[in-house]
């Protein structure tokens, strides 16, 4: 996620996105549709709140004992014929995967959708070693063909509409029929025929991981299209890459998450394909299985007592779909693999406040994300916590310059005023007297400096002649 360092701060990136009419239209339509569907299928489950609580509690248990569970998982995978690799960071994860692929003398692999490899930039790392990784998830394929980056956790190409996709397929897919229309079935069929050839030829498949069962070493991938089923069953060799927090203790725990995830994610009662495999089965499926466990900043998140709940995330994307900020700016403005509310907390914790310090402020703290989160991540709480960390961080790194910044000076001055009744009442009187240069015809229409963002669209009423406390004193 070194990209974040080069990415403009959120307010700047958002400004460009807000002006993109096509993006606003595509996103507004998509998020509102899925929002309504989710509400409907969640409403069908009478014990939804208990399920959320169970989902949260279990994830927190896993995080409390992550060291034990990881070793249990490793032993179970090895027992069933798999090989486990440990990667401290993105570079190490990419090197492990690259060595495995190169070791087999292969220069083309098929991939199912994986946020973790998106985070580690695996495709780019493989390309540097002359290995071509084909994305097989339809939306991920659209992203790859367009040299684009994902803008949504579940629907990476949510910012594209079907006219744009048709145009892209005609330009980039040699096997696309020349009379291709923008009918979704025709588009999907074109992708399907293109991908089928890749699946049948591939010797190595790479997948992500939704859940890994510590007790049995079973890996689970849930999906809609069947491409992950192809990637994980057809090739001779399967490499699965997972963030270390993706563990569930026992098989039984699927009971909770396979109810929570599909309904929150695609707004379905159950997703079409759920692939589960345990190590290697002779004569059936890949005969070589590698599991790559990736930290890449996760133990830092775990060390943050307020922030660690972000590791509960099961990547459903419900928080993105309900977020009024995401709905309008789209995912690219966040400059991270993880956009939206979960990205606004996860990205600064994974890649540092230097790279993503503006993200905790990219929220009105409306709380819609917390309300829908299937594992009860209190995103507003973590956002505010990270704002505290950001102020501490910039005071530490920028020292005097930060202490003298307009906001810092104003905040400290106001804190001093509010700490004394005498100063507070004096400030009320002073504000009333001092506002006259700004008041025109009973309104304030222009504010100076950093407050001009307010008055660009909103009038301000002047401070009234009598404060409440003055009225109260006069009355009693």
């Amino acid at each position: 996620m070194t990209d974040a360092a080069r990415h403009p701060p959120f307010p700047q990136a958002a400004r460009a996105a807000l002006a993109n009419t096509q993006l606003r239209h595509n996103l507004g339509h998509a998020t509102h549709t899925i929002r309504a569907k989710r509400a409907e299928v969640v409403g069908e489950v009478p014990d939804w709140q208990q399920l959320r609580e169970a989902g949260r509690a279990l994830k927190e248990r896993v995080l409390r004992h992550l060291d034990d569970y990881l070793l249990e998982l490793e032993a179970a995978v090895q027992r069933s014929g798999g090989v486990v690799h440990w990667a401290r960071d993105a570079a190490e994860a990419n090197r492990i995967v690259g060595d495995l692929v190169a070791g087999h003398g292969v220069d083309e692999v098929v991939k199912s959708k994986s946020l973790t490899t998106e985070e580690t930039k695996l495709n780019e790392a493989l390309a540097e070693r002359g290995i071509r990784a084909w994305e097989t998830d339809l939306a991920q394929l659209i992203i790859q063909l367009g040299d684009d980056t994902p803008s949504h956790i579940l629907v990476p190409a949510i910012h594209r509409n079907r006219e744009e996709i048709r145009e892209l397929f005609l330009r980039k897919l040699e096997d696309a029929p020349r009379d291709l229309s923008d009918d979704p079935h025709e588009l999907a069929e074109t992708a399907r025929l293109h991908l089928r050839k890749l699946f049948l030829a591939a010797r190595i498949g790479i997948s992500g991981v939704n859940f890994a069962v510590a007790e049995t070493g079973t890996i689970a991938v849930v999906e809609s299209e069947g491409n992950a089923r192809m990637c994980t069953t057809l090739p001779e060799v399967l490499i699965s890459v997972m963030g270390i927090e993706k563990i569930i203790p026992t098989w039984r725990d699927f009971e909770i998450y396979l109810q929570l995830l599909p309904r929150s994610s695609t707004a379905e009662r159950m997703n079409p394909y759920t692939s589960l495999w345990t190590g290697v089965t002779p004569g059936d499926g890949p005969q070589e299985f590698h599991l790559v466990l990736v930290d890449n900043g996760r133990t830092n998140v775990l060390a943050d007592v307020v922030g660690r709940q972000a590791l509960n995330c099961i990547r459903c994307s419900a928080c993105l779909n309900v977020c009024p900020v995401y709905e309008r700016t789209g995912g690219h403005a966040y400059g991270s693999t993880y956009p939206g509310p979960i990205g606004a907390i996860l990205t600064p914790m994974l890649s540092g406040l230097d790279a993503a310090g503006s993200l905790p402020y990219a929220s009105s703290l409306c709380g819609a994300c917390y309300e829908v989160c299937p594992v009860k991540i209190n995103i507003p709480e973590v956002l505010v916590h990270l704002r505290h960390e950001q102020v501490k961080h910039s005071t530490r790194t920028d020292g005097v310059r930060e202490r003298l910044s307009g906001e810092h000076v104003a905040m400290r001055a106001m804190a001093r005023i509010f700490a004394s009744r005498r100063l507070y009442e004096a400030a009320q009187r002073l504000g009333r007297l001092g506002q006259w240069p700004l008041v025109r015809r009973g309104k304030i229409e222009h504010l100076p400096g950093p407050l001009s963002g307010w008055s660009s669209m909103r009038d301000l009423q002047p401070i009234p002649k009598q404060s409440f406390r003055e009225w109260w004193r006069e009355r009693s």
Partner: protein, 253 residues
């Protein structure tokens, strides 16, 4: 169990004290009409929400101390601001923990359950919905995010409004969508805030209402500021101001 407290302390909030004194006067008139004596501890200033939510937690600590001291003798504290009550209820214990001061933590734990938002006091604590109010105008109600999702006041404000004589209460489309205020968000992310506000204004204008009401003047200042800029002819009004009007003392939108 509902019971009418004999005495409540008004936590006006710095913002209402300075910018919206009429809301405070309305709360006093309303509660006195219902037979509740109101006092106003003058030592109160600001709850610290802006500092806390913008990242200045150290600066919030003295404000929490001041709040706890100002309302130490109050059995019931009521405020016409959902977000300031949310700050006290959800985050004061966090600030106290950051301070490392055990006695502040004890004081916060003692005061938090005594602090109520206006509709909570009226509907939950006192068990009243029909307050004898009169407001013969077309009104739409915006449920602010903190009233809805922090305090979970649900439809309490709407139940109070439905009982107002003469009112023409119109449902606000997409009511639960944030208006885009978010405190310093409106300044730090002004463009995104305005995009959200634009959609909220459209919903309000679609209702044909003369008045947009809410349980928080901060969101209303944001919404009202845009309505004023657009010369929309629609004004904003705090819930308490509508509830304070009676046939003997009618109000105009």
């Amino acid at each position: 169990v509902s019971s009418t407290p004999q005495q409540v302390s008004l936590f006006i909030t710095c913002f209402n004290d300075t910018m919206f004194p009429e809301t405070g006067r309305a709360v006093v008139r309303l509660l006195e009409r219902l037979g509740v004596a109101v006092d106003f501890p003058l030592e109160q200033t600001c709850c610290g929400q802006m500092h806390f939510n913008t990242g200045y937690v150290e600066e919030t600590i003295p404000l929490v101390r001041r709040f706890v001291r100002a309302f130490a003798d109050s059995d019931v504290v009521v405020s016409p601001s959902a977000s300031c009550v949310g700050m006290v209820r959800d985050y004061y214990s966090r600030v106290a923990a950051v301070s490392g001061d055990a006695s502040l933590q004890t004081d916060v734990a003692a005061i938090v359950p005594r602090v109520l938002e206006l509709s909570e006091l009226l509907v939950d604590r006192m068990g009243v919905e029909d307050l004898g109010a009169f407001f013969p105008h077309r009104v739409t109600y915006h449920p602010t995010c903190h009233s809805l999702r922090m305090l979970k006041v649900d439809d309490k404000p709407l139940r109070l409004l439905r009982a107002v004589r003469g009112i023409d209460l119109i449902d606000l489309p997409e009511a639960k969508e944030c208006c885009g205020f978010g405190g310093t968000f409106a300044v730090k992310n002004a463009d995104t805030s305005i995009a959200m506000l634009t959609d909220k204004i459209r919903s309000i204008l679609d209702t044909g209402a003369e008045v947009c009401a809410a349980a928080d003047n901060s969101c209303l200042m944001h919404i009202g500021g845009a309505l004023s800029r657009q010369r929309a002819g629609v004004r904003t009004m705090h819930l308490a101001e509508i509830l304070a009007h009676t046939e003997q003392r009618p109000g105009r939108p």
